[in-house]
């Protein structure tokens, strides 16, 4: 593994490094966006006993390109009474943070734009800005559905940010660093085994933050039509589409880095390991989307505050105690303990989980 480690300013010059990795991260996002759109539509089709898109190119792999071309040629419609400037600005504000996230995601040892020593904090901070873009879109559209969708997005992000960040803190405690690179290097045992509860909480919270099913209330097609991007067409809509999948890609990459050991793995080259793990995580996201029906807004809020939040606090406490009290004990001993703790806590909390003092069906 250490053989694949690149020097921090590879290929030798600060500006060359900057230019190369800026291009790599943007191309990576755009390419994976197209791959993900294809994977999602095909996998969902097959899981629903359909075929999915299969006309454009072999197996329909050119479908995202065809969609992109179509969307480019579409008319750009701005609502007559909408706020034109904000309407124009919103997709940009939403897209840029998603691209910025990939500045600190390590594709392999040393292969990242900049190894910030506060990498994960940077991600948490920058990814929240997308919500501002979404809210701008909802407000500028002068449409009740888009405003409602944007409100829901803000509410869910504000609520779910807490358990997500708290479960990240557990990882940081174990790794002893905020740098994405150091977190990967600390994972001799993938943190999904050491932090099973943290992984569960992070994954659920992340799904809610990026509006994936079953938490896609912000663009619930059946009630508020399309949520915040209802009044968007053409390239602006494409940008929001890019945000949606870019966030899914970002979450897959962060889960990979924090919990699945990042680019580390035997035999295969590190960057390939990274891609494989990202692909697996995204497949699980699609799999969940095909399976689970959408939750109600009260269920969404209750899950964040009554279920994820206390469990995240407990997880943090347990992790801290384990690290402070038994620093010398081998981490392998902690694996079965932590898994047992997760099962007990989840079962216990499921039993106590009620809505409306037990008067509302969960």
């Amino acid at each position: 593994m250490a053989t694949a480690w690149l020097p921090p300013d590879w290929p030798g010059n600060f500006w060359a490094h900057w230019a190369i990795f800026a291009v790599i991260s943007i191309v990576f996002v755009l390419l994976m966006f197209m791959v993900f759109v294809w994977v999602e539509r095909r996998a969902m089709g097959i899981m629903q006993a359909r075929l999915g898109p299969n006309r454009a190119g072999p197996f329909g792999i050119l479908q995202p390109a065809a969609d992109g071309l179509k969307v480019l040629l579409k008319e750009d419609i701005v609502p007559a009474k909408g706020d034109k400037v904000v309407h124009w600005l919103a997709p940009v504000v939403a897209v840029v943070p998603v691209l910025l996230i990939f500045a600190v995601v390590p594709f392999q040892g040393g292969a990242l734009l900049v190894d910030l020593n506060i990498g994960i904090l940077y991600i948490v901070a920058i990814s929240s800005v997308t919500t501002v873009g979404v809210f701008m879109a909802g407000w500028a559209s002068n449409n009740k559905y888009s405003l409602l969708g944007a409100m829901r997005q803000v509410a869910s992000v504000v609520s779910y940010e807490i358990p997500v960040v708290l479960s990240i803190v557990g990882v940081i405690l174990l790794a002893g660093s905020l740098s994405m690179q150091q977190i990967v290097m600390a994972q001799d045992i993938p943190f999904i085994l050491l932090q099973p509860l943290g992984f569960l909480l992070f994954f659920i919270g992340a799904l809610a933050e990026i509006n994936r099913a079953p938490f896609d209330l912000m663009e619930a097609d059946s009630e508020i039509v399309a949520g915040f991007h209802i009044e968007y067409s053409g390239m602006k809509f494409a940008l929001f589409y890019l945000v949606e999948y870019g966030e899914a890609l970002a979450i897959s990459a962060i889960v990979t880095t924090l919990f699945l050991g990042g680019w580390r793995g035997p035999l295969l080259p590190p960057w390939l390991w990274f891609l494989v793990k990202v692909g697996i995580v995204f497949f699980v996201i699609v799999w969940i989307r095909t399976t689970v029906p959408r939750v109600r807004i009260d269920q969404l809020m209750a899950l964040a505050w009554k279920f994820l939040f206390p469990l995240a606090l407990l997880n943090l406490l347990i992790t801290a105690v384990e690290i402070l009290v038994w620093p010398a004990v081998s981490l392998w001993v902690m694996v079965p303990i932590n898994i047992a703790v997760m099962i007990v806590l989840v079962l216990l909390w499921s039993r106590f989980f009620k809505l409306g003092w037990g008067k509302v069906e969960v």
Binding site: M47, A49, R50, L51, T290
Partner: protein
């Protein structure tokens, strides 16, 4: 203690969806793959047998839409009706099949083809020669079990080799 509440329900659902990855999709890709229609399909057009028709106009009388127009003249030498005009307006036809059932000489059939749509209403009106059976206009087995026996069996979505034809 209902375990459905503790994530078991979601796990069951996940198992169902992942197993669909291994099954055949139900979709038939129409222009390339075609299912065999029912052998007794009522099709798009009527088919008329010139030889068997006696010009009795029973079909025109049973037609609830009045879409069959038949004009006959008496031929003294042959001692039978001569069919001057036999015209069906498929734009009015509701494909109830009553004419086919009513025909005492079995000279009318429903069509087996189902892709006989037209761009203009006028093209839907077929007369005499246009109503005869041909390669594209096969008679279906509707009310004619002897024809049904010769047609291929209807393919069901359950069939393994459906769509191969």
């Amino acid at each position: 203690m209902k375990f459905e509440r503790y994530g078991i329900g979601i796990a069951k659902g996940l198992r169902v969806t992942i197993r669909h990855l291994l099954r055949r999709p139900i979709t038939t890709q129409y222009p390339e793959q075609r299912l065999n229609t029912s052998r007794r399909i009522r099709g798009n057009e009527l088919i008329w047998d010139k030889e068997k028709c006696t010009g009795c106009a029973t079909c025109a009388k049973t037609c609830p839409q009045g879409s069959i127009h038949i004009v006959t003249s008496v031929s003294i030498e042959e001692n039978k009706y001569k069919v001057e005009k036999f015209e069906v307006d498929h734009g009015y036809c509701i494909f109830c099949g009553l004419c086919v059932e009513a025909c005492p000489y079995e000279a009318l059939f429903m069509g087996y083809a189902y892709e006989r749509a037209r761009y203009r209403r006028g093209e839907l009106v077929l007369a005499k020669e246009g109503l005869l059976a041909s390669e594209e206009r096969k008679p279906s087995g509707y009310a004619h079990p002897e024809i049904a026996a010769t047609l291929p069996k209807q393919s069901l979505l359950l069939d393994k080799d459906r769509g191969k034809r």
